[in-house]
Amino acid sequence: MEVFFTQLTNGLAVGGIYALIALGYTMVYGVLKLINFAHGDLFTIGAYLGLSLLTSLALTDHVGAAAGIVILAVMVMGLVGVIGILLDRAAYKPLRTSPRLSAVVSALGASIVFSNTVMLVYGPNPRVYPQGILPTQVFEVFGLSVPVMRFVILAASVILMIGLYVFIQRTKIGTAIRAAAIDQDAARLMGINVDRVIMLVFFIGPALGGAAGVMVGLYYGQIKFTMGWIYGLKAFTAAILGGIGNIPGAMVGGLLLGVIESLGAAYISMAWKDAIAFFVLILILIARPTGLLGERVAEKV
């Protein structure tokens, strides 16, 4: 029971992070039908930018831990969002009408460029986040101890997800995004500036990924320039699990994958932890390619 509970809360915390990254994949896929392979590396960039800003500005010393983290997250989200827009301009926009493989290869190239730029700037060794910013207390429920940090991480990702959901469902711009995802040409005829929508999607998705990067830095305390692709792949699995192109699906998929992985690591094998996500990915693509919440009947997969 103890182990189960620990792994469950850990899985939910990690799952929230997967879900945030997965949202970036799913939003871009929804509008452009493109797997943005460079998304995982935008997440890495977020983690490293967060580290730089955290150590150089010392925000948490001036305004306190909570406000400092919020300001930091907003700054990182803005910066990574802008990088996302630049990525689209440089690597994807010229390929809008090209065959699918061209855009996929270009995305892969962009991913290599990002991860190697991070390596050249910050060095190939793992970097350490300053410790003791998030509360380290452990809190007791029914005799089971849970680090408060896990709740903070989960709460932060849930708040961001709810914010995004409300934005997509309740605002005019959100409606435009949904319309562009369903039918770009029809949306254009209705007076929606689809290019603007794509730009916005390439801002929001990477911004959420960047926030996830900061969260990983704070949660695990250590970041590496290669971590982007494994997180990216798992987040993509989460997006598929929930049904790609489906925003609530990415959230559910992320949390579910986090829990499956963490329970699998505890009860099956720690050494096979990374493989579990890939087995889930393969199984879901074979058995139910539209994902759990995939009511959108996508094109033939």
Partner: protein
């Protein structure tokens, strides 16, 4: 005869072939070994080209088949002392059997989904190797002491005499080129390319699209497995590091940059991606960064690769003769 484009191209290929064959005479050991690596990756690129170039399947897990071939060789050779060259067909069969098992359920997946699944596959294989699956892969340390190939009782050691190993690899690569160009122009190759360009029309013409795609996957896997034997025997040591996702990316880039579906293109790709960086040792750490930029720029300005396949020719004079003979 006027030197038209076709003859110039043939002349250039012949010149490159002669330069290649004479290479150990004018290159030192280090550079010969670089060419050995080029040859191994060229063979891998050509085997991936069957799947990716002719079959149009975005397969980014080719390192898995390469790994299975290399590990089959290493395990059997170190355990029972079977000569490595004898193991080549078995390495190929092992990789082929694995390919059938893996590809059958995923072969119908569309483009980018297949890409993701094959990435998952290669990672699972690597994790399995690191975790010392069945207790035979040696875990993260890999397997040492694989013996060198011997032909007519003569040892060909890839470390001591890279020049000798070079000719072994050149014979293998030459056989690969000849076989695969025959395959390309055979009924099989035509059907596969037709399936790739329009699966519905191909099925409508009576082509078993799924069957051909699976066959392409298996042929590519068998060849990558056999190349794995030569890789394992070259330095006598293999570890999971050599079969990571990045190896698959490198093979993928060789095919895409050189020219998907074109044998000369893939060979050029192998030279550029494996050989060229050796000339710029000082820029070693920028290597991948430059590759990434090149990939993006190529996709924007020349998505078909540097040497795309030449369009098939139907010479009018020969056609008329045929009609007369009818």
């Amino acid at each position: 005869m006027k030197p038209d484009a076709d003859n110039i191209r043939k002349g250039a290929y012949a010149a490159v072939a002669v330069l290649w064959i004479l290479a150990p005479l004018y290159l030192d050991k280090y550079w010969t070994d670089v060419l050995n690596n080029v040859a191994i990756y060229a063979a891998l690129g050509l085997s991936l080209n069957i799947i990716l170039g002719y079959g149009g399947m975005f397969h980014m897990g080719h390192a898995a088949f390469f790994a299975i071939g290399a590990y089959t060789t290493a395990i059997v050779n170190t355990a029972w002392g079977v000569p490595v060259l004898w193991l080549m067909p078995f390495a190929g069969i092992a990789a082929g059997v694995f390919a059938v098992a893996v590809a059958r359920p995923i072969i119908h997946l569309r483009g980018d989904y297949l890409l993701i699944v094959t990435i998952g596959m290669v990672e699972i294989v690597r994790i399995a190797l690191v975790n010392n699956v069945f207790g035979i892969t040696g875990g993260a340390n890999g397997i040492f002491g694989i013996s060198s190939p011997s032909i007519f009782g003569r040892q060909i050691n890839g470390v001591v005499a890279p020049g000798h190993y070079f000719y072994l690899l050149t014979v293998f690569l030459g056989a690969t080129i000849i076989l695969f160009s025959l395959l390309e122009h055979s009924r099989f190759g035509r059907a596969l390319k037709f399936t790739c360009s329009d699966e519905v029309a191909a099925t409508g013409s009576g082509i078993n699209a799924a069957g051909y795609k699976l066959a392409a996957f298996v042929i590519g896997a068998v060849w990558a497995g056999m190349t794995g034997t030569l890789y394992a025997a070259k330095i006598g040591f293999i570890s999971p590091e050599s079969f990571s996702f990045w190896e698959s990316v490198i093979m993928f880039m060789i095919v895409i940059l050189g020219g998907s579906g074109s044998i000369p293109g893939v060979l050029l790709g192998a030279i550029l991606i494996i050989g060229l960086p050796e000339l710029f040792q000082g820029l070693q750490q920028y290597r991948l960064l430059i590759f990434g930029i090149v990939l993006v720029v190529m996709m924007i300005f020349r998505p078909q690769g540097i040497l795309p396949p030449a369009p098939r020719k139907y010479p009018v004079d020969k056609l008329e003769k045929q009609e007369v003979s009818l």
